[in-house]
């Protein structure tokens, strides 16, 4: 049971643990892909589901999770998400085949969507005083930078020494500790049932997005004219259209569409989407390039990914093997930095 006034530092530790753990998996995951391919006998399409199996539910549930946090309380959501994520990590460790691994990744993505936004909420309520709060959030977000850069290095070394399962295995003790810390020290947050959430719109959006991704991955193997691919594109279009229609009608939408009337907001969101497609799509490709084409070990590939991550801070688009793509995004970074640093 939490004490009436627990030390907020433990909240900071618990929320950092959760965040660091999820980030490590995400950044080290790219290094692990070639080992997973060799071990579980799959192809590039299977590997893309290992990443997208996590990304899709994460993307789909992020908007919902905000509303859930208001309704159930951030502490409960954080703990539940961490439990799901930790259990799913254990499932990843035990995965006997690629289907199992992808299923476990879907669960991980759902858990992460629950606890990631909540980890910031519990931090905010643990530090009501603005200066202290700014410091705590500073520590919390610099942890993301450290983990982002060291994730591939640590992951590469782990994979090199113990195999790809080890990057999921280390989540288990960290996750259990995070849950225990949260139960013991994080203050209960008030739950309010003020915001309704629209499960119909949520389901339609997630379905449309999943159908679109499936069609894009499978299209090269089956061909554009395959009835299944056409059907998937139709499903994607109708799912997304239904999402927009439901949100437009809703009195309290998850995604207030009037936000998109603001041109800065819309172009920034579009730039974020396009940039992420290039960057994370590129990382996926580099994971195959470094280890399967160039024949580097996981440890060496981890080092290279670490360099890519560090370069990304200074100059978002730089990458070692494609200097031509570095055309001055760094001096443009005020424009691009909007993606990450919103005005307060």
């Amino acid at each position: 049971m939490p004490r009436p006034d627990p030390d907020p530092r433990f909240t900071l530790i618990a929320s950092s643990f959760g965040l660091g753990m999820a980030l490590l998996d995400v950044t080290a995951g790219n290094v692990a892909l070639p080992s997973i391919r060799a071990d579980l006998h799959t192809d590039a399409a299977g590997l893309s589901w290992v990443v997208d199996g996590y990304t899709l539910p994460f993307a789909s549930l992020l908007l919902l999770a905000g509303g859930l946090g208001d309704r159930l309380g951030a502490r409960r959501l954080f703990t539940a998400g961490l439990v799901v994520f930790t259990a799913a990590s254990a499932m990843c460790v035990a995965a006997p085949d690629i289907g199992w691994l992808i299923a476990a990744r879907v669960l991980q993505g759902m858990g992460a969507a629950l606890f990631m936004p909540a980890s910031l909420s519990i931090l905010r309520s643990a530090y009501p005083e603005p200066v202290e709060r700014a410091r705590a959030i500073g520590i919390w977000s610099s942890l993301t930078a450290v983990t982002g850069a060291s994730g591939p290095l640590v992951g590469g070394a782990l994979i090199h020494a113990f195999g790809w399962r080890s990057i999921f295995l280390i989540n288990v003790p960290i996750g259990v500790l995070g849950v225990l810390l949260a139960l013991r020290f994080v203050q209960r947050s008030p739950a309010s049932a003020t915001r309704a959430f629209d499960l119909g719109a949520q389901a339609a959006g997630a379905f449309g997005l999943a159908a679109l991704t499936w069609a894009l991955i499978e299209r090269s193997a089956r061909g554009w004219s395959s009835p299944l691919i056409v059907l998937a594109f139709v499903c994607a279009a109708s799912g997304i259209a239904a999402f927009v229609a439901l949100e437009r009608r809703s009195a309290d939408p998850m995604l207030p569409l009037h936000l998109f009337r603001d041109r800065t907001f819309t172009t920034t969101a579009a730039a974020a989407l396009v940039y992420a497609a290039g960057f994370f799509g590129g990382l996926f490709v580099l994971s195959i390039e470094f280890q399967d084409v160039q024949g580097y070990s996981p440890a060496a590939a981890g080092l290279l990914f670490g360099i890519v991550s560090v370069l990304q801070w200074g100059s978002p688009s730089c990458r070692p093997r494609r200097p031509s793509s570095c055309k001055g995004l760094s001096w443009r970074s005020p424009a691009l930095a909007q993606l990450w640093s919103r005005p307060r």
């Binding site: 969101a269 994370f280 991550s309 990450w340 307060r344």
Partner: protein
């Protein structure tokens, strides 16, 4: 981390704004990986890598063009939230 965007947006509307940005990054990630992974089908890996990274460079230029078209926000005060790779 994505959620770092949320760290700099306190008001309730800004909160949903950050969540939308996070979501668009995730959606971009999912679609980018889907398209690039499908380029490996029926091609030697090295060729697929070249093709995909060429596409990635094009996508950056598009992102750059979009970002430079965005009007500057009214308040220029920004916080150095550190961007890191994530999903």
């Amino acid at each position: 981390m994505n959620a770092a965007i949320l760290a700099s947006v306190p008001s309730s509307l800004a909160g949903i704004g950050g969540a939308v940005l996070n979501t668009s990054r995730q959606v971009g990630t999912a679609l980018g990986i889907a398209v690039f992974a499908s380029s490996f089908h029926g091609r030697p890996a090295a060729e697929a890598v070249r093709l995909s990274l060429g596409c990635a460079a094009l996508l950056y230029l598009c992102a750059l063009a979009l970002a430079s078209r965005a009007p500057a926000p009214a308040s220029q005060k920004s916080y150095d939230v550190i961007p890191v790779p994530d999903h």
